[in-house]
Amino acid sequence: MPKILEVNKLTKEYSNFKLDSISFGLESGHVMGLIGPNGAGKSTTIKLIMNLIAKTSGSIRIFGKDSVRDSKEIKERIGFVYDENYYYGILNIREMEKVIAPFYKRWQTDTFWRYINQFKLNPKMAIDSFSKGMKMKFSLAVALSHGADLIIMDEPTSGLDPVFRSVMLDIFYNIIQDEKKSIFFSTHITQDLEKIADYITFINNGKLIFSEQKDQILDNYGIVKGDSELLDSDIKAEFIGFRSNAMGFAGLTDDVARARRILGDRVLIEKATLEDIMVYSVRGNSND
């Protein structure tokens, strides 16, 4: 299947942060979640993909085209949702549609108003008077109303209630059904990704930890629990991160089969959630 988004050895250097040679790819008809703690480089990655900031080195290809040279052509086919409202808050929805719609050749007025009605947004109210969730719904309606082939979102579900998050995930699911469209989004709410994502890209401190199929990740990673006296230096080295206290230890492994082979029935092995993977990877080892 053709790659709709290809990021290759992407690097961006700031004086106090470096996004360090990250590579990943997303195929058509799939959802990729970008996870990582605050300051990991998620927004920087999205800004680089959107050509809002200049890369130091590496390449980004979207729809097979160069993200900088062919930026104008590419952006016609991208729907974007950012972490905050950047639309003019003094305007109401009708006025904002008048501003934004002419920029898209394939603007779909009917689709836009279908989403506005579905999201129960009052078209006469100024965007400034909307709650954070309503503003996010408006941004989403714009992103979904011009036939975009790639939807890129930076923390779209933050600030949304669980009911709307569920509605949103259903919408995402429907979008990718034709297998031509893809969704790439960053989030802290890893439960959403467990429901919808096909691929997970995890970055920490500017470095790529992994970019793999979600099912493969959830199959390979596990939480190993056992008595603290088992934790010698060899066993500790098996874990990506662990926590231990007087009651016992819990460690994250990226190779459940190996952990089972080494530790046998002396430990309990549970499935790791994406949140577990993120927390243990970022925190490393800790003794309470």
């Binding site: 809002l52 952006k75 003094i90 002419p102």
Partner: protein
């Protein structure tokens, strides 16, 4: 480009800036009869308010992030900003001329003069110099960082319009010596050719400024 201009006018219509700018133009058209300084001043102020309001909304909502995420070249965004000001200038001049014709209908002997082409050319070059000085700084430093520069450029043009409109003989002598083209233009002695030269000069200044702004904006990060 047209879509960006439409955006500016939709924003302007929603703001107090538009009303203030229109009132400024009407005030200038009225005061023109007594001293053309007021006219120059009012057009400059109307541009200052109109541009200031649009830029303040762009800053408040960080909307450059949106426009740079759309299918637009960065150079188009820059050029549209210049064109937007010039379109508003054309609107302001047109409105002021319409107001002057209306004032002629009033039974007041003094209210009979209509601005001529040479005088309009001075307005154009004043605005051209003003935005050519300000906009590159706006694109470099953003709205907040360039507010002082905007105000300084306005004051400079304000002072300049005061000098070239002065009826004081010493000032006129000074202006005639150093800024002969302008003063001749204002007094209407030079005709269309001088006016055209001034407009061409304005275009040249605008092109240099636009080119500088594009260079700056291409490197900007959002």
């Amino acid at each position: 480009m047209i879509n960006l201009l439409r955006k500016d006018f939709i924003l302007l219509k929603k703001s107090r800036g538009f009303i203030i700018a229109v009132l400024m133009v009407l005030f200038g058209a009225f005061m023109w009869q007594k001293n053309n300084f007021y006219y120059l001043w009012s057009i400059l102020m109307s541009i200052y308010f109109a541009m200031g309001y649009i830029n303040s909304y762009d800053h408040k909502y960080n909307s450059e992030k949106i426009f740079n995420s759309l299918s637009l070249k960065r150079s188009t965004i820059v050029i549209a900003k210049y064109v937007s000001v010039l379109v508003f200038l054309a609107f302001a001049i047109g409105l002021s001329i319409a107001a002057m014709y209306l004032l002629r209908l009033l039974p007041v002997a003094e209210l009979t003069r209509i601005i001529n082409l040479s005088e309009i050319s001075v307005v154009i070059i004043l605005v051209a110099v003003y935005i050519s000085a300000y906009l590159p700084l706006y694109f470099k430093l953003g709205y907040m960082g360039s507010r002082w520069a905007n105000f300084a450029a306005l004051i400079l043009m304000f002072s300049f319009s005061g000098i070239i409109s002065s009826s004081d003989p010493a000032t006129q002598n000074f202006v005639a010596r150093y800024l002969g083209v302008f003063v001749n233009s204002v007094s209407g002695n030079t005709g269309l050719n001088r006016g055209l030269i001034i407009v061409l000069l304005a275009v040249l200044i605008l092109l240099i400024s636009t080119s500088a702004s594009i260079q700056i904006y291409q490197k900007k990060e959002f």
